[in-house]
């Protein structure tokens, strides 16, 4: 019997033959943290250890509340900067760089065959490049800084085979919303998800990041795409370390194989207050909203901004809607700037914010008042997430958010393309 990617990589790290269900003690290749590094430092201090055991493994990226929105946030950032300097942590990205998952990826840490653990639930994103990447808590990160060791359960794997071709006006965001809607928010709890199938090969790396990122919303421990030529090309000149591609064996054992054909898919919308409360856009059309968000670690890349600009070019957003654009990183921002995308968006009436998490977690830059409704390209629509518990959040693709921003209500983007 062959092995899955997850069994192989965790076996390699534990230096033994392992199967799904076993618990292994391993040492990761990289450990990610962001603004929560301040809280992690506090826990680390309690351990009575003076120095981080492997500072070269730490990657710290400030993104959640950048620049600091209050004195408390400012103090957190200051604590982190001082720690980074005293511990000689090389891989530190201060506020100019952008959202951790995008910055981590574009700086070549997200590599095939690497074991990456991060104090963020969307650490699953790096599976887009063939890494094993999972979210953990802050006590675990503090312990890793001190001991370089953690226990992990080898997950069973669900294979999701995506077949067919994306129709015009339909995007991978619609694909993953449809899958989560059908399978449920806990379908992949404790499990790995491998995305395969003929359709996947045609997805850009940015699009693969959308799927791997949102695997977390099915409860997945990690998501995975087998690296291909496009992956390797992208990593050229970017990879921070040598790497080896690890793939599942053809006769690997899967917990389930789920087929999804996307050829007749229509745009999808996740309705309040769970990500698996998904409806086709035709069933959500007409819902009025107050704020649109195009950005976040899910959909803030150049290809997302470009789609929005295609729809908004030469038009004006609805006067009752505030449209916030948040490029995922400085690199994506710069590219959109040079290509004239941001100019189109500003002329259409959008507000361009600096790269970062923005209002996605309700801390700053556009939090919602009671009774307000947001339409966002983010990955979560939980009650209270963007501010008031009496606000509502709908999730959709950048195309749907852009088209809806013109009308002031949820709209099918296909009529604008």
């Amino acid at each position: 019997m062959g092995k899955t990617f997850s069994e192989k990589i965790l076996g390699l790290k534990a230096q033994k033959d392992v199967q799904a269900g076993e618990v292994v003690t391993v040492s990761p290749d990289y450990i990610l943290s962001h603004d929560n590094s301040a809280a992690i430092i506090k826990e680390f201090r309690k351990l009575g250890v003076k120095d981080v055991i492997s500072p070269q493994k730490l990657v710290i990226i400030l993104d959640h509340v950048v620049p600091a929105a209050s004195e408390k946030y400012a103090l957190n950032h200051k604590t982190i900067r001082e720690f980074v300097s005293s511990q000689k942590i090389q891989n530190f990205f201060d506020i100019p760089f952008g959202i951790c998952h995008q910055v981590f990826s574009e700086n070549g840490f997200a590599l095939p065959g690497k074991l990456i653990l991060g104090a963020d639930s969307h650490t699953t994103s790096y599976g887009a490049f063939g890494a094993f990447a999972a979210g953990i808590g802050r006590s675990e990160v503090a312990t890793l800084w001190a001991t370089d060791e953690i226990w992990l359960r080898v997950p069973e794997t669900i294979k999701i085979e995506i077949k067919g071709e994306l129709p015009s006006g339909v995007y991978v965001k619609d694909v993953i919303l449809k899958i989560i809607g059908e399978e449920g928010a806990d379908r992949a709890n404790y499990k790995a998800v491998e995305f395969t199938g003929e359709a996947v090969k045609k997805f850009s790396l940015a699009s693969r990041l959308v799927l791997a990122n949102m695997a977390a919303e099915m409860g997945a421990k990690n998501g995975y795409f087998e690296p291909d030529e496009e992956t390797l090309l992208w990593l050229k000149g970017r990879a921070k370390d040598e790497f080896k591609v690890i793939s599942s064996d053809p006769d690997a054992r899967y917990e389930a194989v789920l087929d999804h054909n996307i050829s007749s898919l229509e745009p999808q919308v996740a309705c309040p207050h769970t990500v698996d409360n998904v409806k086709p856009v035709s069933k959500a059309e007409g819902k009025e909203f107050h704020q649109a968000v195009i950005g976040t670690c899910t959909n803030g890349r150049f290809e997302d901004l470009e789609i929005a600009a295609r729809i908004l070019k030469g038009k004006k957003v609805h006067p009752k809607v505030r449209v916030l654009i948040i490029p995922a990183s400085r690199q994506e921002y710069l590219l959109a700037l040079k290509k004239g995308i941001l100019e189109i968006l500003v002329e259409a009436g959008c507000v361009i914010l600096n790269p970062g998490c923005g209002p996605c977690l309700g801390a700053h830059q556009g939090v919602l008042a009671p009774g307000e409704v947001a339409l966002s390209t983010a990955n979560r629509n939980f009650r209270g997430r963007m501010g008031s518990r009496d606000a509502q959040i709908y999730l959709a693709s950048p195309a749907t958010v852009a088209a809806s921003s013109l009308e002031g209500k949820i709209t099918d983007p296909r009529k604008f393309l």
Binding site: D35, L47, G137, S139, E140, N189, G219, A363, R383, G387
Partner: protein, 163 residues
Amino acid sequence: MKRGRVWKYGDNVNTDVIFPGKYTYSILEPEEMAHHALEDLDPGFAQKVKPGDVIVAGRNFGCGSSREQAATCLKYAGVQAVVAKSFARIFFRNAINQGLPVLQSEEAVDSIEHGGEIEIDFDRGSIKTARGDFSFPAFPESVMGILEAGGLIPYTKKKLEGK
């Protein structure tokens, strides 16, 4: 054997309603976190919860963000354990790492109502409600060690000192 009063909730109780994201980087003290426990799910909870109370919930408790404050705020609010039909992965780890027992038992959840009494016997691995006794799988030794030490940080500290 510990007896407690039950606060019962449904499926998919996520970390945002347990501990809102807007506080995640501005509140760092566990006692203060406790004041906001379940704020966006049940705004009266933090004021009314008593030490030893137990949260009982449906499927996928703790889904969403990796914020450990979701476990910390419950522990410091006095919650002695969470019994659910299933837990989200990161919350499950975080709860153990905060020394908060998380017990999975579909039958126990179905057998108790909001406000009822529940008894948890960690040694025997059983949950007693008005409608019967239900077992939960014993924790592996390593997990028991973390719970007994009061969480991963004190557990690791002890381990490092022993070296």
